[in-house]
């Protein structure tokens, strides 16, 4: 495990310095999006791939993280009007919060939402959970649209500082944070796979009734998976307002987050941490390419079609195809 983490950090460092060598900010903008999808896909797979419960509401969890940031970003404006004067200097020293703190808060918010949703629906058949997550996105969007403090349907501006100490351009700082998040997400996913927790998840996926009967605490495990997966998605969303500069509900709740976080693990392969990583890098880069060369609606279409083709033709994704190929060769 320690070795894996060291390797992952080394790879991440190589990616970061490699990107700096190219010396073009666009690399960081595009790379940030791809890394964001690595985190989302890995997070989705912790629930979807390991326990077999489908979450269609990734966009909602992502947006919760993003809007937690917006809410806290707007907070200093309230200090003078709502808090006693004695507290004001203290609050002003704390705010604005640094992005790593915002990431943690975004993660907590989305994790708690995931836990609550899971508690209400996970005792029922799997399909209900999937449907509830789908509906969750619509409702949270309704709440945000009606919440004037975070900008409502008009959206909110977040001014991104131009530079940051030590690193330089702000986008490189955001890129580095997302890179770190990706490493953390993958390390968690891999850790789960090799732990008792992972075996528990797998029993739920394979036969929940049998697992329950043999004493696996299925509800508890499912709640852990939901909260963890939701929290990681929220963490991926927290820096987003700083990246995009202007956040409106329709962009934070964009269906492309929901479809990508399902399509990437499905196309890469859902049984191990490698699948979402491969899927996210391939699809993420492909989309960057298609967005630049053709249009952003076409890129969404491509993802949807690939998802349909892969679930029909290659149920275990690219990882499954490669494994099948290797096994065929051994024979």
């Amino acid at each position: 495990m320690r070795l894996f983490l060291l390797i992952a950090i080394a790879v991440a460092a190589a990616v970061f310095f490699g990107a700096r060598l190219i010396g073009n900010d666009y690399v960081f903008f595009a790379g940030y999006t791809v890394l964001q999808f690595v985190v989302l896909a890995t997070a989705w797979n912790i629930l979807g791939g390991y326990t077999g419960y489908v979450n269609f509401g990734s966009a909602a969890f992502f947006a919760m993280g993003a809007y937690a940031t917006v809410a806290l970003h707007k907070f200093p404006a309230l200090i003078d009007s709502t808090f006693p004067e004695a507290l004001a200097p203290l609050l002003r020293a704390i705010f604005p919060l640094p992005i790593p703190a915002l990431i943690v808060i975004g993660g907590i918010v989305s994790g708690v939402v995931g836990l609550g949703m899971g508690y209400l629906t996970l005792r029922l058949r799997g399909a209900f959970f999937a449907i509830a997550t789908l509906a969750l996105a619509v409702v949270l969007q309704t709440l945000i649209v009606n919440w004037d403090y975070v900008g409502g349907s008009r959206g909110a501006y977040i001014i991104r500082p131009g530079e940051i100490a030590l690193i330089g351009p702000y986008i490189q700082y955001l890129f580095l944070l997302m890179l770190a998040l990706a490493v953390i997400a993958i390390a968690i996913a891999r850790g789960i796979e090799r732990s008792q927790l992972g075996y528990g998840f797998a029993t739920i996926r394979d036969d929940e009734l049998a697992a329950e009967a043999s004493g696996v605490p299925t509800l508890k495990l499912k709640l852990i998976a939901t909260a963890l997966s939701g929290a990681l998605m929220g963490m991926a969303g927290a820096p987003f307002p700083y990246y995009i500069g202007y956040l409106q509900p329709s962009s934070a709740f964009g269906l492309e987050y929901a479809v990508n976080s399902i399509a990437m693990p499905m196309i890469g392969g859902t049984t191990s941490w490698v699948g979402p990583l491969i899927g996210a890098i391939l699809l993420g880069s492909l989309q960057q390419y298609v967005t630049v060369t053709i249009s952003s609606s076409v890129n969404v279409l491509v993802v949807g079609l690939l998802l349909i083709v892969f679930v029909i033709v290659a149920p275990n994704g690219i990882v499954g195809l490669v494994q099948g190929h290797l096994r065929g060769r051994k024979k």
Binding site: L120, A132, A135, V259, S297, L301, L305, I308, V311
Partner: protein, 292 residues
């Protein structure tokens, strides 16, 4: 109630019932596919939007009444549904992978349909023209906009036809039986796969009508369908899975609730109602109001 006039309440109630009738048309198909066949077709709203666009095209080109269009299109949608079921069956049901991959398949369908419609028609709102869009009947203080009344009546007719079909014909009864005991069905010399294909075809055929009703009620753009995902499944669960009368009652209840929410709190809150209803039902009465 102080400050809230009786007229407002009674008209909110009427609007809710009419809206509920329309919601019934939207949900009947899901009651068959999800409630009876256990196929979680989350792409159902996408087919409805497709129905809306076909009604729009034929209405704009040839001036045909949208409801007439939708009835003419039902066989086409039936074949489309039967085709989709065949793929679903071959790729997922037979391999026993319907939960994870089957769901993703329908999610992909939902998504691809929406994006194709966006690419072809753009995101402009489209609408149809018909004599009943605009005028309204008045009965004392009560107001019956025909734009809502006609869809509601059509929906109830659709419900009646489906209920008769399911309870009176051999195939209809076989559809109700397929969820319970496939082996017994086989012993009755009915192929369960064929029955399921027919049932799924019918469920998609209803979306042709539901789509036409939708575009009569409101202008439509491709992403409107997403709002209906929460609604249809909330109604379906509320009504008790697979019960058509339950579906109509559930639809009316949700319609009334949404109408009151829109009247007294503002229309931007209405989409949240369905989700609240869905979560509360799942938490307290998962079998629905008229559960089996």
């Amino acid at each position: 109630m102080v400050g809230i006039s009786f007229d407002l309440v009674i008209n909110a109630l009427i609007a809710g019932i009419l809206l509920g009738g329309f919601y019934a048309a939207v949900t009947l198909g899901v009651s068959i596919s999800f409630g009876i066949l256990d196929i979680v077709n989350i792409a159902h709203p996408a087919f409805i939007i497709l129905g809306s666009y076909i009604a729009y095209i034929l209405n704009a080109q040839f001036g045909i009444d949208p409801i007439v269009v939708s009835i003419l299109m039902m066989p086409v949608f039936y074949l489309l549904g039967a085709g989709v079921y065949q793929v679903y069956h071959e790729a997922f049901e037979r391999r026993g992978q319907e939960s994870l991959r089957g769901l993703s398949f329908f999610f992909g369908l939902l998504f691809v349909t929406e994006v194709i419609l966006i690419l072809v028609f753009g995101v402009d709102y489209r609408y149809v023209e018909a004599w009943y869009i605009g005028p309204s009947w008045r009965l004392g203080v009560m107001d019956f906009p025909l734009r809502m009344l006609v869809p509601c009546v059509t929906a109830l007719a659709l419900f009646g036809a489906l209920e008769l079909f399911l309870s009176r014909t051999f195939v209809g009864r076989a559809i109700s039986a397929v969820a319970q005991d496939q082996l017994a069905l086989r012993l009755m010399a009915a192929d369960p796969i064929r029955i399921k294909r027919i049932a799924f075809g019918i469920s998609i055929a209803t979306t042709a009508v539901a789509g036409a009703l939708l575009i009569i009620i409101q202008p439509v753009e491709p992403s409107v369908g997403r709002e209906y995902i929460g609604r249809v499944f909330a109604i379906c669960v509320l009504g008790g899975l697979g019960s058509l009368p339950g579906t109509v009652i559930g639809a009316m209840l949700l319609g009334i609730l949404e109408s009151f929410t829109a009247t007294f709190y503002g229309p931007s809150w209405a989409p949240a109602v369905a989700f609240g209803v869905l979560l509360l039902t799942l938490a307290f009465r998962p079998a629905g109001l008229l559960g089996r």
